[in-house]
């Protein structure tokens, strides 16, 4: 069976989309000759030409705004923002236009746009290179937000994001770019809006996305010998949220811990805790635990291990929830 890194799987997804749909365009800072700072667009310009795959000036608001105009002329833009921390200058165009365009045109103009953003921490990066920007997008009504956790699913999610009629913010866990997975790439498979269960267990549900999924699986491995079997849920899609999967997990295990890198306050775990309480209050045996980043700016490389959820911290949280 073929083996793919996440970077390679994403590259294949872009190539296949460019091949299949002549209206797709790939652009962003350094996506041309260089192939992007993570090589996700490697070789695409050579293969599809400088008209369909091109560098932009350093102008993130401009990049997001270009997407709006291009979508109006019937193109399908797939834009890259170089890093999480550089998505903020684009927020106004994303919030005020990209997310609202369909609604304000009474459904007449759709925005089939994908904005790819290498995101999250854990690579001993510089300042502004370890941000978890999902809350800014998830709270913005009108966007879809997805986060792959593995190479094969990254391919599927990206292909689905590209054909989606609505704008999709596609957050790539850069600490997992070089993780490998064996299997076939497919554009079928689980749609956006559906979570996947990666491990079964009835003691506690561990809910995560992106790079934290692997840590949750590790924590689950670690806990198993203690007789604590965790159900590990990879959310994949933060918007729409798979509330059924969360409800099932909460009803069946009675215990939920949510893990993410973003700071705690109004991180995804807050939403999941609130939702789980709404749909499964009577089944909950313990409060939903949040294992998250700290409510401080992302720290320098030498402290990031104290900021990010570790396998130990996840396991400890599960134990607390289970012992509650």
């Amino acid at each position: 069976m073929p083996e793919f890194t996440m970077a390679a799987a994403l590259n294949a997804a872009l190539a296949d989309a460019l091949e299949e749909d002549p209206r797709t365009l790939v652009f962003g800072e350094d996506v041309g000759e260089l192939g992007g700072v993570f090589r996700v667009t490697d070789g695409l310009q050579r293969r599809f030409g400088r008209e369909r795959v091109f560098n932009t000036p350093i102008a993130e608001a401009g990049i997001a705004g270009l997407c709006v105009g291009l979508a109006l002329t019937g193109w399908r833009p797939i834009a890259e923002i170089q890093f999480d921390g550089f998505s903020y200058p684009a927020l106004d165009q994303v919030i005020s236009h990209l997310a609202k365009y369909r609604m304000r045109t009474r459904g007449r103009v759709s925005m089939p746009v994908v904005i790819r953003i290498p995101s999250f921490g854990g690579i001993r990066g510089k300042e502004h290179h370890g941000e978890s920007p999902e809350t800014y997008f998830v709270h913005t009504a009108g966007l879809k937000v997805v986060v792959p956790s593995s190479p094969l699913d990254a391919y599927t999610l990206l292909r689905k994001a590209i054909t989606d009629p609505d704008p999709v913010v596609f957050l790539e866990p850069k600490s997992r770019y070089w993780a490998k997975e064996e299997g076939e790439l497919t554009s079928d498979g689980l749609p956006i809006g559906r979570a996947r269960v990666l491990r079964n267990g009835d003691a506690c549900a561990l809910v995560a996305y992106g790079a934290m999924v692997a840590r949750c699986l590790e924590a689950a491995e670690k806990l198993a010998p203690e007789g604590v079997e965790c159900r590990v849920i990879d959310l994949r899609s933060l918007v729409p949220l798979d509330v059924e999967a969360l409800a099932d997990a909460a009803r069946e295990t009675g215990r939920v811990a949510v893990v993410h890198e973003a700071p705690q306050t109004l991180g995804m775990a807050a939403e999941i805790a609130a939702r789980v309480m709404e749909v499964a209050f009577d089944h909950l045996e313990a409060p939903v635990a949040r294992v998250t980043g700290l409510d401080v700016p992302y720290p320098p490389a030498s402290l990031e291990h104290r900021f990010l959820p570790s396998v130990e911290r996840i396991a400890a949280a599960v134990r607390r929830v289970v012992d509650y």
Binding site: A61, G69, W75, Q93, R102, D166
Partner: protein, 351 residues
């Protein structure tokens, strides 16, 4: 200084008193020349009606354009059917000139729908855009798409003097230059950004910005409809020929308040307004047409009568506009509303 009237380094074909300045042949036939007047008269009449409708509680806050008719009509008239306009929020006159359904347009000010209740694609007129300068980037994106499609069409973005201070203006202008896309950046410099005068917005004339990006910047008397037409026409042709963007600074004036919520007497002198009233674009053009024998007084009267009748119809249609079906709020946010949203909505409507 600048409020003594347009200065001399501007393109001008018709002087404020209606006499021709040099060659006035801008390539329009007499029918077109009459149409320009007709459109400006309509536009002004509707603008005044909207002010009245707002006072009567039939519209929410309204941003009048009186004084800017020539700038808007002259520029919009220079566009072809496949060109695409990216307006800000004060371009009702341009919308009229482009044939946008004004009742649908006024849903915006009626508070019954947002940005584009009209069909923006069919009308070649993007949704009304309030966040200052953001639409300029969309115009560049559209122009890039049009260039890739090789359709020989161009985008025109309207924006104000104040908009040129925003980062989005810059990113758009620079990308337009680098990508060499068919776009016209049309600035209506009406002297004010709400209460902030031009001198607190920029240290130099706006047209000069263009040199910093590497494309032409042109100043034009924005109250001279023929000059505006000619300058825009040239920019459009340049764009369509693949020669890239042009920045046009049309010097004009906002006779009314910023919006109906504004009290302009707090920040500007009545004499300034009076000076500009004497530079009225419609009156100037009327005199020109009469002087050139292109129209007679009866044509002017007919225009006014026709505008009156049309506005009465618009008024009836606009005041009949009720709120949209409530579930449209949910129906149009996504192509297919997520189940979380439909559930939220159901709970709310059940409650």
């Amino acid at each position: 200084m600048r409020d003594t009237g347009p200065s001399d380094d501007m393109v001008r074909h018709v002087a404020p008193d209606g006499t021709a300045v040099g060659d006035v042949d801008v390539g329009l036939d007499e029918g077109d020349l009459r149409e320009l007047l007709r459109l400006m008269v309509r536009a002004r009449r509707l603008d005044r009606e909207c002010m009245a409708l707002q006072r009567q509680g039939e519209l929410t806050v309204y941003p009048p354009f009186e004084g800017q008719e020539a700038a808007q009509v002259g520029s919009a008239f220079a566009l072809g059917p496949s060109d695409f306009v990216f307006p800000s929020f004060r371009e009702l006159a341009a919308a009229i000139a482009r044939g946008v359904d004004v009742v649908e347009y006024l849903q915006y000010h009626r508070g019954t729908w947002h940005g584009g209740a009209y069909d923006p694609i069919a009308a070649r007129f993007a949704p009304i855009c309030v966040p200052v300068a953001t639409q300029i980037v969309h115009a560049v994106g559209w122009a890039l798409g049009a260039k890739l499609d090789g359709i020989g069409a161009c985008a025109l973005a309207y924006f104000g003097d104040g908009a040129t201070s925003e980062g989005d203006f810059h990113e758009a202008a620079n990308m337009a230059a680098v990508f060499r896309v068919p776009v016209v950046l049309f600035c209506q410099n009406n002297g004010w950004a709400i209460s902030v005068p031009l001198s607190e917005q920029t240290a130099v004339p706006i047209a000069r910005r263009a040199g910093g990006y590497g494309f032409p910047g042109v100043r034009v008397d924005g109250n001279d409809v023929l000059a505006v037409y000619a300058v825009t026409r040239a920019a459009v042709e340049r764009a369509r020929a693949g020669e890239g963007p042009t920045l046009i600074e049309a010097i004009t004036y906002r006779i009314g308040p910023h919006t109906t919520a504004d009290d302009a007497t707090r920040y500007r002198a009545p004499e300034e307004v009076e000076r500009w009233r004497r530079l009225d674009p419609i009156e100037r053009y009327r005199r020109f047409l009469l002087g050139a024998g292109i129209v007679g007084e009866e044509f002017v009267a007919a225009c006014e009568a026709e505008a009156e009748a049309w506005v009465a119809e618009v008024r009836t249609a606009v005041t009949a506009l009720g709120p949209p079906p409530e579930d449209e709020m949910v129906a149009f946010a996504f192509a297919e509303p997520p189940t979380t949203l439909t559930r939220e909505w159901r709970e709310r409507t059940d409650a």
